[in-house]
């Protein structure tokens, strides 16, 4: 039997936290003398009231054991409900947004996608702007903590994830799960502060620096400007953001370990190596194309190439320029990079690097088996053998991902989206990237003009992309780190 009480209890706690978070934009609005502050206070009151009632009525449930089914239910319901409540300030602010728009914006925020329906960001109330950044920030830490917290429920003991990719297997970094979560949150907050300070020193206003820091480390992609990072037109800022996007795209427990053992651990991690190699390779390819075909100076080509490649691969979705004007190759390349994503246990979305590494190893093993059917061939990831169950679950995830993408694209085209918009919109939503391709939803465009039905579908796609990731971690971890 599924027991709903512990699920509702946790959701209640999350809603209370969300309600409290709404007081930040209220305070910002008050400080800047905007009448919108009242919207945030009302929204906070409503959210906290619902959350508080759930907590009180389900009291005692916090000591109950969460089963597997409850864990899944909790995952889905918490992300959905938090998104819906987070949409309230958008709906009642004086932006004149419809329900579909508000939910889309909130889901895009909380899933760290960064696709937006708002225009005129440069002159918008600061409460709304900071609220969007806060949603990214909460969503980012939410996904990282959840990846860590779900493991013990699956009898994995939590520590194996960190032990598995550590060279020293006997050493326990932290005795208890809560400490890991705390350390990760600490790293996350530390990175955000560092990013904000760096951006501020590079010349951003304090408000812009804080906002962009939150949406950079969470690999979200909301900006306070319609022209995104391109507005600032500063190479320094772009490089700062590249660094923090990359940090946000790397496994967070790895950061914790790096703090104790030095940065060598990054190079010892197969997934991080693959991630950085991919970005370097794609940047070089795009930059060479720009130099050779578009005759852009090498320095500028490298700068824009790196920024936009890093932004897509980490699924952030900032744009420093409209890369659709770069010609055919970058467009096709960026389209396929939308599916890749960063490392597991990070804030990035999409398929993730380690899955590609596992898939490659398995496919290679298959080829070798064809040659020598009776020889034992072993596929390895991070020096460990990939057993058949793990291989099948990663392969199955890949198929499921492709299948979901195709269905979503088909459904979007039913609402009259042209092929490029439908195909890239579906990819960007499931991968939690942000901008798509084409004139409508490309980096220079906006999701505002899409029909309501398409917005609901895209919102569902963003949530699915985010949650699929969790369920897939569940799958993988159980098979991978079975006792």
């Amino acid at each position: 039997m599924t027991d709903f009480r512990p699920v509702l209890f946790v959701v209640g706690v999350l809603l209370c936290a969300l309600g409290i978070a709404m007081l930040v934009p209220a305070a910002v609005d008050v400080a800047y003398d905007d009448e919108d502050w009242i919207v945030f206070v009302y929204s906070a009151a409503a959210t906290t009231f619902v959350g508080g009632s759930l907590v009180l009525s389900m009291r005692g449930a916090d000591r109950m054991q969460l089963g597997l089914r409850e864990a899944f239910l909790l995952t889905v319901s918490s992300w959905t409900l938090v998104s819906l409540f987070a949409a309230i300030p958008f709906l009642y602010s004086n932006l004149g947004l419809t329900l579909a728009d508000s939910v889309f914006e909130a889901v895009s925020g909380i899933t760290t996608t960064g696709a937006t329906v708002l225009t005129g960001l440069d002159t918008m109330h600061r409460g709304i702007l900071i609220w969007r950044s806060i949603l990214h920030w909460i969503g980012g830490i939410g996904i990282v903590v959840m990846a860590i917290a779900l493991l013990p429920l699956l009898q994995v003991g939590g520590m194996q994830l960190f032990r598995a990719d550590s060279s020293d297997r006997s050493e326990k970094l932290f005795p208890r799960l809560q400490q890991v979560a705390t350390a990760v949150v600490g790293v996350y907050a530390g990175l955000t502060v560092a990013c904000a300070i760096a951006l501020w020193m590079a010349g951003m206003s304090l408000f812009d620096a804080v906002n962009h820091a939150m949406s950079t480390v969470s690999t979200g992609g909301f900006s306070t400007k319609d022209a995104s990072i391109g507005f600032f037109n500063s190479a320094t800022m772009e490089m700062i953001i590249v660094v923090f996007m990359l940090l946000g795209g790397i496994t967070f427990p790895l950061h914790v370990r790096a703090l104790r053992r030095g940065p060598g651990v990054y190079l010892g991690d197969e997934q991080t190596r693959g991630f950085l190699a991919l970005i370097a390779l794609a940047t070089l390819a795009v930059a060479s194309w720009m130099v050779l075909i578009k005759e852009i100076p090498a320095a500028e080509a490298l700068r824009h190439g790196l920024f936009n490649v890093a932004s897509i691969v980490t699924t952030t979705g900032f744009a420093s320029t409209d890369y659709l004007l770069w010609g055919t190759f970058p467009i096709v390349l960026f389209y396929f990079l939308t599916f890749v994503g960063g490392c597991t246990g990070s804030t990035s979305g999409a398929i993730k690097i380690f899955r590609f590494q596992v898939l490659y190893a398995v496919a290679h093993q298959q080829l070798m088996r064809l040659l020598a059917p009776h020889r034992v061939t072993i596929a390895r990831f991070q020096d460990k053998e990939i057993d058949v169950a793990t291989a099948i679950s990663v392969l199955g995830f890949f198929f499921f991902y492709a299948f979901t993408f195709a269905l979503l694209a088909l459904a979007l085209s039913l609402f009259g989206l042209d092929a490029i918009t439908a195909l890239s919109g579906a990819a960007t939503a499931i991968g939690n990237v942000g901008p798509g391709l084409g004139t409508i939803i490309g980096p220079a465009g906006n999701f505002a003009t899409l029909p309501d039905g398409a917005k609901w579908l895209l919102s569902a796609g963003m949530l699915l992309g985010r949650l699929e990731f969790v369920t897939a971690v569940v799958r993988l971890t159980r098979a991978f780190w079975r006792e």
Binding site: Q366, L370, F399, A402
Partner: protein, 482 residues
């Protein structure tokens, strides 16, 4: 060391066959009084000379073919056949470059149907029948390969079809050679029936034969620039639909049907799923066309059935420019390209049985997710799927998507726009023919593409036709190591 002599010996035999096949267009041109017959006679002589030379020099005492030789033979034989069958295209007065000629030949032999030739209506009959013959040979070639070689090589889950016959004990026919002969006869019979059908529907005898060859082979070359749309006849289209579907069935099952037992064909899970998918897609398209006011129900059914069947079976005929049917239709046709028909047919693409295995494996995975200690075994055709088969089918899917992505990025580098690059890659690898967009769409041709893009696309066609693994394995260092 890899003994390549048996490989060249078999290729010699293939070239001799090809030379014999070139006699047909030579004869056709001679009858029509076209000077092009010399081109075919010359090409045939060249093929015959090299073929006989290979047969005589490469004969060995022991004609054993190991696994490596089998892989190499498969890939090399298709490439060599394509290169030699390109000779008439390059030498005829069509003004084709050798690149164009190889593209056309590869498109023919892989039953793709993408073309660089315009003005087909005025082309000499020899060239037209040569294109049809290439597809016809390619079609029977791939069935023979799928029945005899691929299951042994265990490519992408094809071992399912080996187990099927050995496990049951009741073997359809005792020896592979006999199976192949019977399938060849069935293939020829279907082609004959199709030609008669076209002829009865009002086509000229020549057009009927040429189209019958490309229909049963699910190829898609036509004798008119406007493809089947040129004839503008509902009867012709329905004949085409029936025989395109017939070409997409597992040919092995026809053997029992011919012997008076159609049950295995009717009850086959793959056949049923294929038909269900086809009907479902047609219904969706008809509803879309009618609901958006693009056509009345009658013409919507006719257009949707013909064009969808043509794309999903990888044939590539067209009666209308489906890129103009609106957003949903375009996206639908794009994804339909990937599907393909049944295994052991003339179609390409992912193939229905793979989708079934993928689906069953994923559902079993989801079950395990909720009940880690439960036992979930995926089934195909009422039999459990071994984990090794799941793994190899899933890997096939991964490699398919990666190959598609790499091909599309490659085409992007060569300057093709997004829609042309992505749909061209999908169409080539699935051996469909037309892509989307106004360059390579159903109303366009591949002629304006840069030469390098044509080579890349020709490689994509070969890759898709030979089920990826067979070609990719040649690029692994381990293959060439001792």
């Amino acid at each position: 060391m890899l003994d390549v002599r048996p490989i060249f010996f078999v290729i010699g035999i293939l070239l001799v066959t090809l030379a014999a096949a070139m006699g047909v267009p030579a004869l056709a041109d001679l009858v029509a009084g076209q000077s092009d017959w010399r081109v075919f006679a010359g090409s045939a002589a060249a093929c015959l000379f090299i073929g006989v030379g290979l047969i005589l020099t490469m004969r060995t005492e022991e004609m054993r073919i190991g696994i490596r030789q089998a892989f190499l033979l498969t890939a090399v034989s298709w490439v060599v056949t394509a290169l030699f069958s390109a000779l008439p295209f390059a030498l005829a007065d069509l003004n084709l470059s050798y690149t164009d000629a190889v593209f056309e030949a590869m498109s023919g032999i892989t039953t793709t149907g993408a073309t660089v030739i315009t003005g087909l209506e005025k082309a000499p009959p020899g060239i037209l029948i040569w294109r049809a013959i290439l597809q016809w040979l390619g079609g029977i070639g791939i069935i023979v390969m799928a029945v005899s070689i691929l299951p042994l090589l265990r490519v992408g889950g094809m071992q399912l079809f080996r187990m099927e016959s050995s496990e049951k004990g009741e073997k359809a026919l005792p020896r592979v050679a006999q199976v192949v002969t019977v399938i060849g006869l069935i293939y020829a019979g279907l082609t004959l029936a199709c030609a008669l059908g076209y002829w009865a529907a009002g086509m000229r005898g020549f057009d009927a034969v040429a189209h019958a060859m490309t229909t049963v082979a699910t190829g898609g070359f036509s004798t008119a620039d406007a493809s089947i749309g040129y004839f503008d006849s509902a009867a012709v289209e329905w004949v085409a639909v029936v025989f395109m579907l017939a070409g997409s069935m597992p040919f092995v099952l026809y053997i029992q049907a011919v012997r008076g037992n159609p049950m295995p064909l009717m009850r086959d899970a793959q056949v049923r799923t294929f038909l269900v998918i086809v009907v479902a897609c047609i219904v969706l398209l008809v509803v879309w066309k009618v609901a958006t006011g693009r056509a009345d129900v009658g013409s919507a059914i006719r257009l949707a059935t013909f064009n969808l069947v043509s794309v999903i079976t990888g044939t590539g005929f067209a009666t209308s420019d489906f890129s103009l049917w609106g957003e949903f239709a375009v996206t639908m046709f794009f994804f339909a390209m990937f599907i393909g028909g049944c295994a052991g047919s003339t179609t390409c693409g992912l193939k229905i049985f793979r989708l079934q295995v993928l689906y069953a494996s994923t559902v079993a995975q989801a079950g395990k997710l909720l009940q880690p200690h439960g036992v979930f075994v995926p089934h195909f055709n009422r039999k459990p799927i071994p984990e090794s088969v799941s793994e190899s089918v899933l890997s096939f899917f991964f490699l398919y998507v990666i190959s598609f992505g790499a091909l599309a990025v490659g085409l992007g580098i060569l300057g093709l726009d997004f829609v042309t690059a992505v749909s061209g890659a999908a169409s080539a690898i699935a051996n469909v023919g037309p892509g989307l967009g106004n360059i390579i769409g159903p109303a366009g041709t591949y002629a304006p593409l840069p030469d390098t893009a044509k080579w890349l696309l020709a490689f994509g066609m070969l890759l898709g036709r030979l089920e990826l693994f067979t070609v990719l394995i040649l690029f692994t260092p381990a293959f060439w190591r001792n």
